[in-house]
């Protein structure tokens, strides 16, 4: 199994996921997901109710941080994606 790295942006008030590469490096996967968890993941955790009732939108996050990455999709095919070995390649 390979892990797909997805770039997450805001589009029309919703998350837009774009596959940008794949990796088999567990350290890189952890690095990407820890950054997600401390950023967008934390934002969701702190604002879930406000988001669900429409009191705020995800723009509150993406106005400050245009994009984040996540590495939580696993599949068996590289699907034409390039292999990334370093977070600086993102």
């Amino acid at each position: 199994m390979i892990t797909v790295i997805e770039k997450i942006e805001e589009e029309g008030g919703q998350l837009k996921f774009t596959p940008v590469g794949f990796t088999q490096d567990q350290e890189l996967i952890n690095e990407i997901n820890e950054a997600y968890d401390s950023g967008l993941g934390k934002f969701f955790g702190e604002n879930r109710t406000k988001l669900e009732i429409g009191e705020i939108t995800i723009n509150a996050f993406f106005d400050v941080t245009p994009s984040v990455n996540e590495a939580r999709t696993q599949q068996e095919n590289t699907d034409g994606l390039r292999e990334l070995k370093n977070i600086n390649e993102l």
């Binding site: 998350l15 596959p19 993941g41 669900e52 999709t73 696993q74 599949q75 699907d79 034409g80």
Partner: protein, 218 residues
Amino acid sequence: MAAPTKGNITQNSATPGANFRSINHTQNTGNNRFLIVFLTMSNGKSYTSATYGGDAMTFEYTIERGGLSSRMAVFTLVDPKTGSNALRVNFNNSVFTPLSFYAQSFTDCGGFGAEVKTGGGASPRTGNITVEQDSLIMVTSTSNAVNQTVQIPTGNNVTRTNHNINKRVAVGAISDAGHAAGAISVRATTNNVNLTLDRVEIKGLASSGGESDFFLIM
């Protein structure tokens, strides 16, 4: 006259942050293709539909597990397009809680068969499913604690994927090989925490009447 051939898997657990989630999945080439996707998320929102490569998938079932504040669903598609296509699941509103997503392809498959869903109860959680000759069984189990084992049949541990979506979902557990026709016992376990036990049948060609049966009749 054989069990389905297991194909590609795509799995993810992440927050959709939208009223849909689309993930690319590669369907294997071959005859009698079949695609199934298992979904679990918070019960605050609902699944409305799913498509693969733009083709509508069959909504096999959805079930709310109030004790676990969860909602599960299964969609399938017979003879899906081959290659890499978007598998899109739609919700009734934007979802800001994690979604467990597990898709598996098959070839030489007779499609979706029996389904048995058992709500939360003490571990070990054991139940039967009656299947036809050469069918495979897939099990999903949800709990407040990490799943320890899934056994298909009971006593035979099989691999599964554990997703943490605030609840713990064991998904993708599948028979090692096709079963003989009849009632098959399956089991899931946690460390003294209640858990659910949902099982579905993936039919082999023997039980569905494939093309070979047609030629035999001729």
